[in-house]
Symmetry: C2
Subunit: 423 residues, 2 copies
């Protein structure tokens, strides 16, 4: 079996490294000689820190896509084009595809899967969610007898590094972001990771596998972590015994699927609170298996390459394998409007302290039927700005946002209020 | 595809329940009609709390084993015989086998796997380790490109319930054991679970998959938890910031495999310390994927049945699937003698306090080249018995045991000393 790799970047170099180091293992486990025959990238000059026979390098994707000798194409260039065209051509030419391209799958799932199904080839994508964590195979195959009830994932290492760094070092967002950039855990333009878009794309894939429903990113409620302050994290931990984590959530209730990407308060003794730094954790509940969690490195050259090569080996071993996808039952009747979802909430307002503030605020909450569990104003000095921390009982998102809009109109409120769900 | 179930006990009833509730899902996901055709048990009278067509029940295993219509045999009677004979006959008759029988696999692995390989049928056993946690498939397939470096598992729910209950409730072993028995988390005769034998059998299977080496239970160092006192757990947490967990460990170092089942001190911030109650967690390190952990219910009717039915579905979908087993590389040159393994140690002695105790004890450690990190004697009153807590630097097990033997001869020592590894 011959493999062609398109995209000799970070993960691509990791794939080459696995073939270099574990070639014998790969052959023995698959019972075949599996050869990485060709590696294509626009740049084949810059050293990647891995040994590779220069004969194998090419700048022309056709050297893989049009080579009848190549059985499996690994696509690791990312993004929409030319990745999409390359994958469709590989399929058209009867080749199996292995990809880590979450963006592409999240947008062009149907097109790619239909093409593969028509040509009778496999598209494997374990590396697209959770890096080296085998969560997709588990969801698809190992939990196959279950009706999935909920999925909660910490699936962006950059955001988790920042949130947990703010907690452990007592620093503000910008400071930990700069440190993450220095260490290579955050991109120079970190928007995609910290604003939740990467998490959203992965949630789309998890939702497809867990619930058999495709929801485009535009329909997801996505909120990032850049508004989280150090004192939110401190208050959550010290007063409420919760950590703050950027979560991807998919939860089925009464046939309606609730989906969101948001920072949320997680009980400190919940296993997801133990997921720190760049690690990922995905917590899944099935009707029979109960809660299971998968933990590991959600990104990085070696871990992600491990998932890519495992996919190749799976194809070598079982090229005809049918993968059961989706829930296999019509559980999801609709996707619940985000404004109709309910949760307990943590709210933080910045307010100028003066008499009557609490009374006016309580009035707004009351008019929208929101029941308050606690209100705390710390270190209030009349005339100065202080944070007010509010915890609500179970509240409908739409009611909360209407109440907050009213409160925003009050003259003593400064800046934007923050509202986070409590798990 | 038709399935026959032998063993209508707790897990067997769970399997029937999944077929009752998720039959449509099973058919859709596999693309076949999968029917639970027959259920055999010696007792088919006692109600199991699940609906089943009485026509399907039989007391004669031949009704499954000799029925040419049945493709898959689920064996859930446990133990060695008649489970072994039933499985071998099922294989002989060309049927696939799904089993949760860790005891049988840990002892008769070669015989069963050779027979299956000869007849070209599959033997699936996800439920044998970690109940509903899909750790075996992950180890075998998802981590296939890795050289496994170590496996640390909390894989006995009874022992974990007791150890974590002692910590959270501040109770002694016997008290929590009685509570566990009352709640059905421990057997009336709990020896098998609390003395580590169940954990050892599961470790044998994990070692086969992770390292390709079969080690019979007699060659494993197995120690249970019945000697752990409440004050060991308290000292570990308060003074050393570690929890106590019954671990199965397999670790490869310089080509030598180190294997043991023992209660050990785990750093409080390690993910394995977050595994509490009857839950299981398996922590695996591969050379590329780095650390990954799998968490969930390691036992119980519904979770274990989930793994059993997933195995059936996997067979229905891919009856010819080849499963890569073992490491695929000759990594393990030998199994390290337990006396030659090294670790930091926590030691607790009960001693009559009198002058010179510390001097004599230190002499014994010194003669065997053991370097001490700390010694603490709490609440000493001359002439009375008090615990002495010792933490060593990295020490070879054999040296430690020799030193402890010498110390045992000293007249001020009372009872057996306890020595636990520190992870």
């Amino acid at each position: 079996m011959k493999v062609g790799l398109i995209g000799f970047g970070t993960i691509g170099a990791g794939v080459v490294e696995i073939f270099n180091r574990n070639q014998e293992l790969i052959n023995r486990k698959t019972g075949r000689k599996v050869e990485l025959k060709r590696v294509v990238d626009l740049d084949i000059e810059t050293p990647r820190g891995v040994e590779i026979d220069p004969e194998k390098l090419s700048t022309d994707a056709d050297d893989i896509l049009e080579d009848p000798d190549i059985d499996i194409v690994i696509e690791l260039i990312g993004g929409y084009e030319p990745a999409r065209s390359f994958i469709l051509r590989a399929i058209e030419n009867g080749k199996h595809v292995v990809t880590a391209n979450k963006a592409l799958l999240a947008r062009h799932w149907d097109e790619i899967m239909s093409a593969a199904s028509e040509k009778g080839v496999r598209v494997a994508f374990e590396a697209s969610v959770g890096g080296g964590i085998p969560v997709l195979k588990a969801l698809n195959e190992s939990l196959a007898a279950n009706r999935i009830q909920s999925i909660y994932g910490i699936i962006n290492g950059t955001a988790n590094y920042i949130l947990t760094g703010m907690a452990s070092e007592g620093c503000e967002f910008e400071e930990v972001l700069r440190e993450a950039q220095r260490l290579g855990y955050a991109e120079r333009d970190p928007t995609f990771d910290i604003e939740g878009h990467d998490t959203a794309q992965k949630l789309i894939i998890l939702t497809l596998l867990g619930f058999g429903v495709y929801v485009p990113e535009e329909k997801l409620h996505v909120m990032g972590i850049s508004n989280i302050k150090r004192h939110d994290i401190e208050y959550a931990l010290e007063e409420l015994n919760h950590t703050v984590r950027l979560l991807a959530a998919a939860r089925l209730e009464d046939g309606e699927l609730e989906l969101w990407v948001m920072p949320a308060l997680v009980p400190a003794d919940h296993l997801l609170s133990s997921v720190t730094g760049v690690y990922n954790g995905i917590y899944i509940e099935g009707d029979f298996t109960g809660p299971v969690m998968f933990y590991g490195k959600g990104a990085g050259r070696r871990a992600t390459a491990s998932a890519v090569v495992a996919d190749c080996m799976d194809i070598v071993i079982n090229p005809e394998k049918r993968i059961p996808m989706g829930p296999g039952f019509e559980a999801v009747k609709s996707v619940r409007e985000f404004s109709r979802t309910t949760s307990r909430y943590y709210i933080r307002l910045e307010a100028v302290d003066r008499p009557g503030v609490l009374h006016e605020m309580a009035g707004a909450f009351s008019r929208h039927g929101i029941s308050i569990e606690s209100v705390t104003q710390r270190g209030a000095v009349e005339g100065e700005t202080v944070p007010i921390y509010i915890v609500t009982h179970s509240t409908m998102e739409g009611d909360l946002q209407r109440a907050l809009s009213e409160i925003m109109e009050m003259e003593w409120v400064m800046g934007e209020p923050l509202s986070l769900r409590i798990l």
